[in-house]
Amino acid sequence: MFNFMTCAHPTCNTYICGEGPFCFRHSPNKDELYSSCIASLLGKDDVLDLSLTGGEFENLTIPKKGFISSNMAWCTFRNIDFSECTFITSFFDFCLFEGCRFNNITSRYSIFSGSKMIGCDFSGSTITHSNFVGIDTLYCNFGDCDLYYTNFGTSYLRDTDFIDCNLKKADFAHTNQRRVSFRYSNYSEAHH
């Protein structure tokens, strides 16, 4: 798991980035931490135990790799291609994802809660036991996904498709939906 030490800045409780003692936002070596993060995102190896919160990333194609026990909460991702990646126990809560591709990803025990997703494509993915509680979607596509035990509770869904998905034990309770399609999916087996 990523380092649980919190930032040395007096009013900040965010987890440290790299060796610390500051989080990414308060670090004096922000550029160095950012470059090292980009290198690990674009490198061949899995991203393991990384913690970088509040970073902004644009126009990247991430090669097929795993994000394991990492924390990238409060980040902004624009036009990032995460296709074929694997996410295990990783935290992407309260992020902004704009025009990102998550085709054929595998996500297990990962957290995307509270994030805003605009024009994102998750089609063909296996997203099980994942947390999408309180997300805010616009023009997103979850077509042909296995969403077993994934929680979308309290989400605000607009122009979003869940076509031909497995929704067994998925949770859509208290969602606010407009122009959302569950065609060919087993919506009746989800909790809603």
Partner: protein
Amino acid sequence: MRIYQHFSVVGFCNTYLIGSKKGSDAILIDPGHVDNELVHLIESNEFKLKHVLLTHRHMAHTAGLGTLAKIYNPTIYASGFASYEFPVKSISDHQVLSLCDLEIEVIHVPGHSLDSLVYKIDHALFTGDTLMCGRVGSTEGYREQALLLQSIWKRLMSLDENILLFPGHGTASKLRIERMFNHQLLELGAMAKERQNWRYDE
């Protein structure tokens, strides 16, 4: 610290395997069901399973104890409010355990069951059936529900909101996420408060 999550298809319970590093002594929380995948998780990390922590005595969380005892013979820790057919070390609220180079804080959160315990290890909270992603644990009646909500607000929600939440069922979360989006917690909290007011009015 390494935290591995295992999903048991029997009882749909989450089991957590925790060790400080590969090859170290390890702790298991809530052995709902012991299958090949769980044994492989322990063995592939060369963990020496020494201790088992139970959040509460419900079958979905304890059914694998017998198999585990045969293979690894771990020390079992559970609340003193429940009795078990295995020798168990009784633990209670506010106790701090030092196991496998980890400090484990025991928090009593009754309501779902009288013996419900939450374990805090560093910035990770293992909540069993007390607080889960988007909901709170089931209860037997209004009084138990009020007790559970009160315990959650008093003992868990007062902690740092960046703390990670690993519940007994469902997906992992963070305290901040639950504070913002747990509909049941927010809705039932308001209802419980309202009921309290009715009682005062009387």
